[in-house]
């Protein structure tokens, strides 16, 4: 397995994803002799994982079962240990497409953060591209490097521990795309420009605050970037549910003389919920939105180097 190439069977040293059920999963480092605790019981790596096919169902010691999944950057994003706020696949998707990334692309990124976007970028530019990622926090830079190595992708990425606003990306005139997710992106626009190839390179800056966006757009303009465009993207998820709605009792059409429209004394009007539900409900399937949704992550500003 690797994050950039599918494998069929689980091997020692793999990073696999244990799926317990709806929205419940976690990553696991497969190792001979190790044991993983889950709420359904214990998983013994040597007997339950190694040699099994990815996608298999594994029964744990207490009898419950889980699925073992092949890792992907998307699954990693949902399960990685957060060292910083991360980018989720919704933003990552539009970033990837708007930066026109594909196998062979050279990309620069800062800050590396928790490596969520980094893994997705590496997957997209593999096997012939490269990611140059810059992180000014030493421990985070080291942790990212360690993870890339564990995930078998370190040959596709170079991690540099420095301040991109002061020292740039460490490369010049070769990048197809640059991505910025830092507090003061306008201070890095010049460096981004010099890292980018002579013509046609793309840049993206991600900022939570509109004030940051304003300053960044101004800087992009000053440095001669064109096609400057800011957008935001949000994900709306729907739960598929079968809904039953009760039919209201509007009384009988042909009234007998004793009563008026409001026949409140008539016990059948009140009716027990059970009885009425049997006859008077309509069922339908609906895509029900969640009670709460993410309302904002950040503004994405794209531009082209001319």
């Amino acid at each position: 397995m690797s994050f950039i190439e599918y494998g069929d069977t689980i091997k020692d040293g793999d990073t696999a994803i244990v799926f317990l059920g709806h929205e419940s999963m976690f990553p696991v480092k497969v190792q001979h002799g190790t044991v993983t605790q889950t709420k359904y019981g214990v998983i013994r790596h040597s007997t339950d994982l190694i040699g099994k096919k990815y996608g298999s169902k594994v029964t744990c010691s207490k009898g419950g079962w889980v699925f073992i999944l092949h890792p992907t950057p998307e699954l990693w994003t949902m399960n990685l240990p957060h060292r910083t706020q991360i980018l989720y696949s919704t933003d990552i998707s539009i970033i990837t497409m708007m930066l026109e990334l594909k196998p062979g692309s050279i990309v620069c990124e800062s800050g590396t953060g928790s490596g969520s976007l980094s893994h997705a970028l590496i997957r997209t530019v593999a096997p012939t591209g490269h990611l140059y990622t810059v992180e000014f926090h030493q421990q985070r830079a080291e942790k990212a490097q360690e993870e890339f190595r564990e995930h078998g992708v370190d040959h596709l990425v170079t991690v540099t521990n420095q301040d991109v606003c002061k020292n740039g990306f460490g490369v010049s005139n070769i990048a197809d795309a640059v991505f910025l997710d830092i507090p003061s992106p306008w201070e890095a626009i010049g460096h981004a420009k010099s890292a980018l190839k002579a013509e046609g390179g793309r840049i993206c800056s991600f900022s939570p605050c509109i004030e940051q966006v304003q300053r960044t757009c101004l800087a992009m303009e000053e440095y001669g970037f064109t096609e400057i465009n800011t957008l935001e993207i949000l994900l709306r998820v729907y739960n598929v549910r079968t809904i039953s709605l009760q039919i209201p009792d509007l009384g009988k059409a042909a009234e007998d003389n004793s009563g008026t429209g409001f026949d409140s004394s008539n016990p059948s009007n009140q009716g027990s919920p059970g009885a009425n539900l049997q006859q008077g409900t309509v069922q339908f399937k609906s895509g029900v939105p969640l009670r709460e949704m993410v309302g904002h992550t950040g503004y994405l500003t794209f531009a082209t180097k001319s």
């Binding site: 950039i4 190439e5 599918y6 169902k57 046609g200």
Partner: protein, 483 residues
């Protein structure tokens, strides 16, 4: 480095995209071919050799000329008002008439100069606020400074273009939804992908771009042949197509049941590029009746790959016997050529069928006008466990049904029904706000991950497909769409 490396040049034969503001149009780069775009007509000849991304002006003669870098004259503090309380819109504030402006244009006056003239001849300009003046100038520039940028096609460019120009052709798949599909589907180099789309080949092209020529793609198609009009716009190098296969939907059931044969093929697309009926009728093994409306493969984008051979209409006026003999020879050769082609098609089909039979695809992408449920239920059979799949539908309701059927089938987890909400912004100092219009909807996605199908469940579905003859009620339930 691959194509798209620094300084990619515009070459004859390319498919290029013309861009003016937010308007795009894909055109073939051919000499002396008149192009009409944004109320202007011109030839592309002069653009050949320039880099993609170059901005041009249209000269009076209909030729392109690279736009000179104009030094923006630092605006001296001009006269401006504070608000519009005294500005009356009576339609009389511009002193230049339509004819005056036309005269200026005919004289060959540059757009920049025309804008300047309009400003000077506007009685209300100096009363406008600075912001309003800015807006006015931008508006006039947009109208009179006709600049065109020639950009290299990419998923970003083409998906935006199609959504704006011909959304009907792509089932209203908005570009951010397409972006989600590519990521959720983990499309990357080396995959073995199954793609089923009726989006003019745009989705196929996007998948091919993200695979970079590595791996393989099997495109499932309805009717006589796949439509790849948009795919040709991407300008992929030939090797990319070496591992692109296609397989007719009409053979899927027979393949799954083990009765597949190449004896009856869907009609040769070369024979009926424009005739719909014939290709619909050929599927005798089919137990079900999928409604197929074949798209005309040749009707699409300006960039057409002419797949149909010339239908030579033999015009025999000569009584010449020798002529007749030669004609017979020619006919025999044509027949042999046709047979060769048939044989080749059968061979390819058998190879593709073998690829599918391995049931180890790394992912499935569906984006079509058809009801998604039967497509998913059948095509998922060809996908390996622990692999992502993504289905696009213009409407939500069919995906609700699809979700339910998938739950019944089993072998899938992490099902998610979603849509994305996209908003563009205007960012200017003191004038930042979302743009006035936005897309009302960009379609819906159902995504999930395959897992090993439970023995219990898979047994029942295996026996369903084997008992093709018996209209058992059980089988009716699983495929109840067709009952």
């Amino acid at each position: 480095a691959m194509e798209g490396s620094p300084g990619a040049r515009i070459r004859e034969g390319d498919c290029a995209v013309l861009k003016r503001g937010e308007v795009f149009k894909a055109v073939p780069v051919l000499r002396r071919r008149k192009i009409i775009f944004e109320k202007q007509w011109f030839y592309l000849d002069n653009a050949i050799g320039h880099s993609y991304g170059t901005t041009f002006e249209v000269t009076n003669g209909g030729n392109l000329q690279p736009k000179q870098e104009v030094e923006e004259t630092p605006t001296e503090t001009k006269e401006a008002g504070t608000d519009n309380r005294n500005i009356v819109d009576d339609g009389k504030s511009q002193k230049l008439t339509h004819d005056d402006i036309k005269a200026l244009k005919d004289k060959g006056i540059k757009g920049q100069e025309i804008v300047q003239q309009l400003i000077e001849n506007s009685t209300t300009f100096r009363d406008k606020t600075e912001f309003a003046q800015d807006k006015y100038i931008k508006k006039k520039k947009k109208k009179y400074e006709a600049v065109i940028t020639i950009v290299k096609p990419s998923t970003r460019i083409l998906s935006t273009m199609y959504y704006a120009r011909e959304p009907g052709k792509i089932n209203h798949l908005r570009y951010d939804t397409l972006a989600q599909m590519l990521t959720l589907g983990n499309i990357h180099a080396g995959n073995k992908m199954i793609v089923m789309e009726t989006c003019a080949g745009l989705v196929l092209g996007a998948v091919m771009e993200r695979m970079g020529g590595y791996g393989s793609i099997i495109q499932m198609y309805p009717g006589g042949g796949p439509v790849r009009a948009a795919t040709s716009c991407f300008g992929f190098p030939k090797p990319y197509f070496d591992n692109l296969h296609e397989f007719p939907l009409s053979k899927v059931h027979s393949l799954l049941s083990g009765t597949f044969s190449t004896e009856t093929l869907p009609s040769d697309p070369e024979d009926n590029a424009l005739v719909e009926e014939e290709s619909n009728g050929l599927t005798e093994e089919k137990q079900t009746s999928l409604q197929e409306t074949e798209e005309e493969p040749t009707a699409e984008a300006p960039m057409e790959i002419n797949q149909s051979e010339e239908q030579e209409t033999m015009d025999i006026n000569a009584e010449d016997v020798e002529f007749k003999e030669n004609k017979e020879k020619e006919n025999k050769e044509n027949v042999r050529e046709k047979q060769m082609k048939q044989w080749e098609r059968r061979k390819k089909l058998t190879e593709t069928a073998a690829l599918l039979r391995e049931k180890n695809a790394d992912g499935l992408i569906v984006a079509s006008k058809f009801h998604p449920t039967p497509l998913l239920l059948s095509l998922l059979e060809f996908v390996a466990p622990s692999r992502p799949f993504v289905v696009y539908c213009q409407y939500k309701e069919p995906l609700l049904e699809c979700y339910t059927k998938l739950r019944e089938r089993g072998g899938v987890i992490n099902l998610k029904l979603s849509e994305t909400w996209l908003r563009n912004y205007q960012v200017l100092p003191d004038r930042s706000h979302p743009k006035l219009t936005m897309s009302g909807g960009g379609g819906y996605l159902l995504s999930g991950i395959t897992v090993v199908l439970d023995k219990g469940k898979s047994d029942s579905s295996n026996s369903e497909t084997l008992k093709m003859e018996e209209p058992s009620p059980k089988r009716c339930k699983v495929q109840d769409l067709h009952c």
